[in-house]
Symmetry: C2
Subunit: 243 residues, 2 copies
């Protein structure tokens, strides 16, 4: 496959149509939802019974719906959706390959942790974009009440078997570590996307004498990641796990 | 797992609420849609590109929607959906295990052939039931235009490589043979469901001196299967394959 229109040199045009950073955001989310669909479906073998399998299929079908919304928006913007998604295939596949759940509870923790941290990440970037993009991202990452169901199940399982708490806490830590690692790779490769993570105006002043270049963007990315990790700790606590 | 409310001894009550045969039909279809969801998702590895993967996810998500409709209806009828589905898990899993596609084209042929023959089968049974059931079954088996897309692709592939036609024709024959084999097992085990396949009134007279028992139902099942096979041949021709 050759590179499509998703080249890094497309000029950003914030007033008219979304720039490269927004297209990257939508494409990254679209592929994330598509791969989540297939990965969740793969977890069916871990489901304890037929009802749980059905619920899992429902969650996966919701991910497909999000993918479709994002892909349709990319087409509407005149972008080849598959070409735009391509840069994100490898990092997202790598993340999934390195975080394959070995049990039903690991699968639930993965769904909750990754939805949470990815949702915060997408929302943070979307806040730097236009209204339309922000609304779409908000719709895709909205909590559908699934978080409460998962946290209740994990809490109950950990109360039944406290040793499980330690194992699942380690698992959650690994999930986030691997996610931040892949996100760093993406941020380093996708300059316009990373630029959306750099704080603007008053927020920018931290007395570090930063330039406006890619290196400062990467520092900004790390600061965003630190914030994401704090929210992650709150989610762990909700599951009765340790950070 | 113990038997749930899906016991064979529930009396049929055609005037008030659907009898055992209808519940069997809805439960069989529900599990068929759920397992199709997961099997289609499994076929993602065979998809030639990202766009095809996305389309596949869309088809699977549609199957999930059908499962949900059927499962909701079972709940509305006061039936435990999972218990009602249980008798159909083994035959449907066996069918899928014996017909695992080895290529993208085999996966497409399987989707088209199995949707077609199962749809005819469900519609035929549903015609012997109440309006509500008939409408629900009609909605679930409605052709969404997917058939035309698949047949066009298969025809094009076979025109490009005529040898493929022979191989895919054999594959289609095996799909139907395995389907009829599993359907015979189901018909032998689910008496009320098989009874819905036995022709009524004027249609019943074929001068064979049949009794109203299970043996005649099985003969009726075979006659229905003969009809299903005829419609299957028309679908093969649409794909440019031989029966």
């Amino acid at each position: 496959m050759t590179n499509g229109p998703a080249s890094d040199t497309t000029p950003v045009d914030p007033d008219d149509k979304p720039g490269r950073g927004v297209i990257d955001l939508l494409a990254m989310m679209a592929y994330a939802e598509l791969v989540a669909f297939f990965r969740l479906s793969d977890d069916a073998g871990l489901a304890p019974d037929l009802a749980a399998k059905g619920e899992l299929a429902g969650v996966a079908a919701t991910e497909y719906g999000h993918y479709k919304l994002l892909r349709d928006r990319l087409e509407e913007l005149g972008v080849d959706p598959e070409a735009a998604m391509r840069p994100f295939v490898e990092p997202l596949n790598a993340w999934h390959a390195r975080t394959e759940p070995q049990s039903w509870l690991e699968s639930l923790v993965k769904a909750y942790v990754s939805d949470g941290i990815a949702g915060d990440f997408y929302r943070y970037i979307a806040d730097q974009t236009d209204d339309r993009t922000r609304a779409l991202v908000g719709e895709v990452v909205s909590d559908t009440g699934r978080g409460e169901i998962i946290t209740a199940r994990i809490r109950a399982a950990v109360e039944d078997d406290p040793k499980l708490g330690g194992r699942l806490s380690l698992w959650a830590r690994r999930l986030v570590g691997e996610a931040l690692s892949q996100a760093q790779i993406v941020a380093a490769q996708r300059v316009e996307l990373a630029a959306l993570l750099a704080p603007r105006g008053a927020e920018a002043g931290e007395g570090e004498g930063r330039s406006e270049g890619a290196a400062s963007d990467l520092a900004a990315v790390s600061r965003v990641f630190a914030k994401l990790t704090e929210a992650h700790s709150a989610r762990l606590a909700a599951m009765g796990l340790n950070g």
